[in-house]
């Protein structure tokens, strides 16, 4: 009897080990689960007042998700970029630039572009969204073109773009403080049954779309091919340059959506600080989610969990009262630890 128990334990262990190394979402999911259980415990589960406990649990979660929606969307794009073997350091600056563009268009003051053109209200919002998304797409394409046609490494191109975009934005927005119409804020703050969850919905929709794109479309699969073996992909008829160009353009587009969410949440933007360090957070989420920096391997859902693990941990540290300066260190531990745990056994 006892030997059998031991055997089944061993089986469970080897099953667990195999799953852990072979199914990336398995390890990430478990890590996430542990985080959530910890968080639930910290919030103090109480049988007597389940209702109010659940209320505060839910509120806490909505807060976490909403606060991370923008960076979460950017992390998804970053995952695709890294899967091609590239990187985009310019996301924070692109966010500021497209955000500033949105605010200039919407400004209710004398310099608001759409206002000057006599466009206000709903039509102005629609035009703004279209133009801003287009601008993000163009900025991304510009980066993509420098990488594919100019043959400059992505790290260099986006490092340069990071400096250029922010600096230009700061210069032109000097002493100009556009006012975003209150109605525009509804885009992010519209309440569904008392909950402000619009950003979460946008994030969920985009996650679903990108998940589908990465799994089921020619473009999505070609991203993996390009990242894993560019030469072989080219010799298999994959238009490598087009795939890369489209990935960076998509990245720009996603950043502009994040910018719109941010502008409509707060109604303003700090052009010198907004989005700073965002590229690193996005990369961290992707890496925790199992994306390989070498390209060829990455998971959209993994990145969502990666983002959430980091977010829940921040929340926990907050609840525990860990000094703010130390929190970044925990983030660093999580990033390195996640990669250590996901490391495959040396193939024999």
């Amino acid at each position: 009897m006892e030997t059998e128990v031991v055997k089944s334990n061993k089986n469970f262990f080897s099953w667990f080990r195999a799953k852990w190394t072979d199914v990336p979402l398995f390890s990430i999911g478990i890590a996430f689960l542990i985080m959530v259980i910890l968080q639930t415990l910290v919030l103090g589960f109480d049988y007597d007042s389940v209702g109010s406990w659940f209320q505060s649990w839910l509120n806490n979660w909505i807060n976490i998700l909403r606060n991370n929606a923008g960076i979460g969307i950017i992390a998804l794009g970053m995952t695709l970029v890294i899967m091609t073997g590239g990187i985009d350091l310019a996301v924070g600056s692109t966010l500021v630039m497209t955000g500033a563009f949105a605010m200039i268009l919407l400004d209710t003051g004398t310099r608001g572009i759409l206002g000057i053109l006599g466009m206000t209200g709903f039509p102005a919002f629609v035009v703004t969204i279209i133009l801003v998304v287009l601008a993000g797409y163009l900025l991304g394409s510009l980066i993509g073109l420098s990488i594919t046609k100019g043959k400059v490494p992505p790290f260099i191109v986006t490092l340069g773009a990071m400096m250029i975009f922010r600096s230009v934005t700061q210069h032109f927005m000097q002493g100009y403080n556009p006012k975003v119409p209150m109605e525009f804020l509804q885009i992010a703050s519209f309440k569904i049954g008392n909950y402000m969850i619009m950003p979460i919905i946008y994030w969920a929709i985009i996650t679903y779309i990108l998940y589908f794109v990465s799994k089921r479309t020619t473009f999505g699969r070609q991203i993996i091919a390009v990242g894993s073996n560019e030469r072989a992909a080219k010799l298999s008829g994959v238009n490598v340059e087009k795939v890369k160009l489209r990935v960076y353009a998509l990245m720009g587009l996603l950043v502009s959506i994040a910018a719109l969410i941010q502008v409509s949440r707060i109604g303003s933007m700090d052009f010198s600080n907004a989005g700073r360090g965002m590229e690193m957070d996005a990369i961290a989420a992707a890496v925790v989610g199992g994306t390989s920096m070498m390209g060829g391997r990455g998971f959209i859902m993994g990145t969502v969990f990666g983002m959430l693990i980091i977010a829940v941990m921040n929340n926990l540290l907050n609840l525990f009262g860990v000094p703010p300066f130390l929190r970044e260190a925990f983030k660093g531990i999580i990033v390195i630890g996640a990669v250590l745990l996901q490391r495959k056994e040396k193939a024999s």
Binding site: T218, Q222, A225, L235
Partner: protein
């Protein structure tokens, strides 16, 4: 030095790779280690080289029992393992590679460049190699990298050298140089274990042979007493054909014609054409420009000048995608670098070319695609597990068939095969030849690029022989023999 391996067993998981293999080699002997892919050759050698540990058995050097738990220990005992994937650092010069890990240092602690260069030169001189030690390794072609590795083993005073398919990417001239080197080593009482799929070479250079099949030693003996046919039979366990595969030839209209094709300094003024149902061989020595020529025709590189006609109409191919749309398929050489994508599973590797074809508005239609692959899998007799298994789980031959399958599912009119049997064992090689003949039967124009004259003679209707970027001559029928091919490939003329 005498090396004895006795009753070696090794399994990976439930897979028994070596089942009780014993083998001996003494200094001054060249022994061929033969077997199909997956027969256990590499595992046996990896055990000797300290890469893997055996489960059971003994290794003795000159009668003293030894155990190697790391490659370094094995090296220290005088065993040098020259791997198929060469262990050279591309971004360092030759001499630093020669001393990698045991660099010479001056009294002041800096690298002693002069001495390293001088000692490298000494070895080169001894081995009759004409190379400048200061050359960067990335400027060497595959053959010279091999030679540098052999010199490194010599410098480390190895008494046993294991060579894992050293001649795969070498030209005949360079192979001869390697063989000369091996004979010099032999005279210096060095024992050599020579792993190769090229049986002719085994007859040329080895004295002893052992054959592994399914992890067991099935034959051993003296090379002088056997023929290549015998060796091939030992390896696969049944008779293997080597005669030219004759077939009824029915050629149709012209598929491809090129005129005056030139690409940088690689090749110039290439004119030829190929018809439906024809098998055209293109051969020559390494660096003759044939791979580049067909990469240009496939749109992977941009030509400098010239014209390409498909079905009589001139086309300008700017990308591989366009070439595929025109019905051209190109199976590249060096499967690992150019053919397979290691992060994708078998099915994806087999379908990447046809994703655009089998998709609706960018969404891949998996079912249709799987049905298509299933057909290919049966036709090509691919041995595999699940569709979603890693491509790395397949043997070399089956990987090559998967790469072939991805092209066949595109329904090409012109199929270019660059070294299609590279790193493929005897059995799978025959399968691939059969497939090529079958495709020609189906009116596809097939181009076979190969440096093995024997292969060209076996399956091609006619062959172009290239030399330094030009077509030196064309052979067909009776004229298509090894002698003529070799003479053209080395810049000579046909002797009529």
């Amino acid at each position: 030095m005498l090396i004895e391996m006795k009753n070696i067993r090794k399994s990976f998981g439930s897979n028994n790779v070596l089942k009780d293999v014993s083998f001996t080699l003494s200094g001054g002997e060249i022994c061929a280690l033969l077997g199909e892919n997956g027969a256990g050759k590499s595992t046996l050698m990896n055990i000797l080289g300290g890469v893997h540990q055996m489960d059971d058995g003994t290794i003795a050097l000159d009668g003293n029992q030894v155990q190697f738990s790391t490659p370094a220990q094995s090296q220290e005992a005088g065993i040098a393992f020259i791997h198929q994937e060469l262990n050279l650092i591309n971004d360092l010069p030759i001499y630093e590679n020669m001393f990698l890990g045991r660099e010479l240092i001056t009294k002041r602690g800096s690298l002693d460049l002069e001495r390293m260069i001088r000692e490298t030169e000494d070895v080169f001189q001894q081995m009759n190699v004409n190379l400048n030690p200061k050359t960067m390794v990335h400027d060497l072609d595959a053959s010279y990298k091999q030679i540098v590795e052999i010199c490194r083993a010599m410098m480390m005073k190895a008494s046993i050298i294991i060579m894992d398919e050293p001649t795969t990417s070498l030209t005949d001239q360079e192979i001869e140089r390697v063989f000369t080197m091996m004979r010099t080593l032999k005279d210096n009482n060095v024992g050599i274990i020579f792993i190769s799929h090229k049986l002719n070479e085994v007859l040329q250079v080895c004295e002893k042979f052992i054959v592994l099949r399914d992890g067991q030693l099935v034959e051993e003996g003296m090379v002088s007493e056997v023929t290549t046919d015998d060796l091939a039979r030992f390896m696969v366990g049944y008779d293997v054909r080597t005669e030219p595969l004759l077939r009824e030839k029915r050629v149709g209209s012209e598929v491809l014609r090129v005129e005056g094709l030139t690409y940088k300094h690689t090749f110039r003024n290439i004119d030829f054409s190929i018809r439906e149902g024809e098998i055209l061989g293109v051969t020559g020595l390494l660096g003759d420009g044939r791979s580049e020529l067909f990469q240009v025709i496939f749109g992977a590189e941009k030509m400098s000048s010239g014209k390409i006609f498909l079905n009589g109409k001139e086309v300008i191919l700017k990308s591989t995608t366009q070439a595929i749309n025109h019905g051209i398929a190109y199976l590249p050489r060096n499967r690992k670098e150019n053919g397979i994508i290691k992060d994708m599973n078998i099915f994806e590797n087999a379908s990447i070319v046809t994703w655009p074809k089998f998709s609706k508005r960018g969404v891949i239609q998996t079912q249709q695609h799987e049905a298509n692959f299933e057909k290919q899998r049966q036709a090509l007799r691919i041995k595999m597990g699940k569709l979603t298994d890693s491509i790395n789980s397949l043997s070399g031959g089956n990987q090559q068939k998967v790469v072939l399958a991805k092209w066949l599912s595109a329904g090409p009119k012109l199929l270019i095969l660059d070294n299609p049997t590279q790193g493929v064992d005897v059995g799978a090689k025959e399968d691939i030849y059969d497939i090529i003949l079958q495709l020609a039967e189906e009116n596809i124009a097939v181009v076979v690029l190969s440096s093995e004259g024997q292969e060209i003679i076996r399956i091609c209707d006619r062959a172009l022989v290239m030399y330094h970027g030009v077509i030196q001559g064309e052979v067909a029928g009776e004229e298509m023999n090894l002698q003529n091919i070799m003479s053209l490939a080395t810049g000579g003329q046909l002797t009529r």
